[in-house]
């Protein structure tokens, strides 16, 4: 896949998600939370990890690839985000990614990041969803960014693409958002601690080790 100027635009337009994953029935949704947690003066619903498939939970895995320590690699197809560590290992997080038509691939750096960010739905999204407000305050229980956002830039220009938390833990492991990478709120907090400003990011269709046999060519990092 070749990364073009048009993709930047699409990436920029395909902004933050009020995801299209159908919400589970109320009682079932409630089961995805357990109690509350406090973070920087905000109380939020803690994820009930007992309910979450083990594969989407944060874990340290082997990672056989050449990216330097500290790089973040997203495998979009398999819904994993890797933070590369020493000795061929990585911390792996389950993520939700953009649904078809809202996917974004490329290299970027984390150039800014924020705590309990305010969410401003982009105009394009408000056109599709006129019911959306002009903005949602940071820390609001209705703010889809959750406790953290990490903003991906390329050559100093905001791609419009972010890593952030979620209001919908059941959407982790799915194609759900309008293009961003969403994480469990606890994981967004964790990743934020581990990624200094300047961290290199690669968003791939899938990592090379996970290439289906017929599609090896897609596995090379997009430029």
């Amino acid at each position: 896949m070749v990364w073009t100027r048009r993709d930047i635009l699409l990436g920029g337009l395909a902004l933050l998600g009020t995801g299209a994953v159908r919400k589970p029935a109320f009682a079932q949704a409630a089961s995805y939370f357990t109690g509350t947690a406090a973070d920087n003066g905000v109380t939020f619903r803690a994820t009930n990890f007992a309910k979450i498939d083990r594969q989407w939970q944060r874990q340290v895995v082997k990672y056989f690839s050449s990216e330097p320590i500290g790089t973040v690699v997203v495998d979009t197809r398999h819904h994993f985000l890797y933070l590369i560590m020493e000795n061929k290992t990585a911390i792996r997080y389950g993520v939700g990614v953009g649904r078809e038509g809202f996917k974004w691939f490329g290299r970027a750096t984390i150039d800014s990041k924020s705590l309990w960010p305010r969410w401003t739905p982009p105009p394009e999204m408000r056109k599709r969803h006129p019911e959306l407000p002009e903005f949602v305050a940071g820390g609001s229980p209705k703010n889809p960014l959750g406790p953290r956002a990490m903003y991906l830039h390329r050559d100093g220009v905001d791609t419009g693409y972010r890593f952030h938390g979620t209001l919908e833990p059941w959407s982790i492991g799915k194609d759900a958002s309008s293009g961003c990478i969403r994480m469990f709120n606890e994981d967004a907090i964790d990743l934020y601690q581990r990624c200094p400003i300047g961290t290199a990011v690669q968003v791939l269709p899938h990592i090379a080790d996970q290439a289906p046999a017929a599609e090896v060519s897609q596995a090379t990092p997009v430029e």
Binding site: R58, Q59, V60, V61, K62, Y63, F64, S65, S66, P68, I69, G70, T71, F80, N87, K88, T89, I91, R92, T109, D190, Y192, Q193, R194, P196, I197, G198, T199, A200, I207, D209, Q210
Partner: protein, 175 residues
Amino acid sequence: MSGYTRRLAAAAMLLALTACTTTDIASVEEPPAAPLTGQTNDPAPGFESVKAGSEEDFILNVGRRIYFTQDSAKLDSVAMTTLDNQAAWLNRNPAWLIKLQGFADDSGSVSKMKSLSQQRADAAMVYLASKGVDPKRMWAKGYGEDREVRDCTERSCKVQNRRVVANLRTEPDAT
């Protein structure tokens, strides 16, 4: 002792036997693990199931690294949050000792980098002590530009190299 720690200890002993020059000291401090086999996405050695209070728990749920801005040994709010988590974990798990390893990859001479990296490690140690970690459990050492992360863009590499890594230990360094 966990599998991961055992492996590191084994690698350290191996290195201690083979490494004779002082330039290898840094690698003895944080020895390379034995080459991994298997596949991407397999659990890393020792991480098949993580017990509270283990080194794996510290790596996965707390994090060993804090980062600094250029030419600075000042702790920012993100670094302090990680150190708060480290202090809480160390206070819950009093058997562990901790070595703070500072690094620097900024502007200046080798000796300036060495002292900046020491200042960074010291700043982390002072902060942990202020959060109730017994200073007798901790020591700090600056490694200057040793063990740089390379092969990335200059900016992304440099931010990785301006760091302090907290290493859990079961006994003090031999002097």
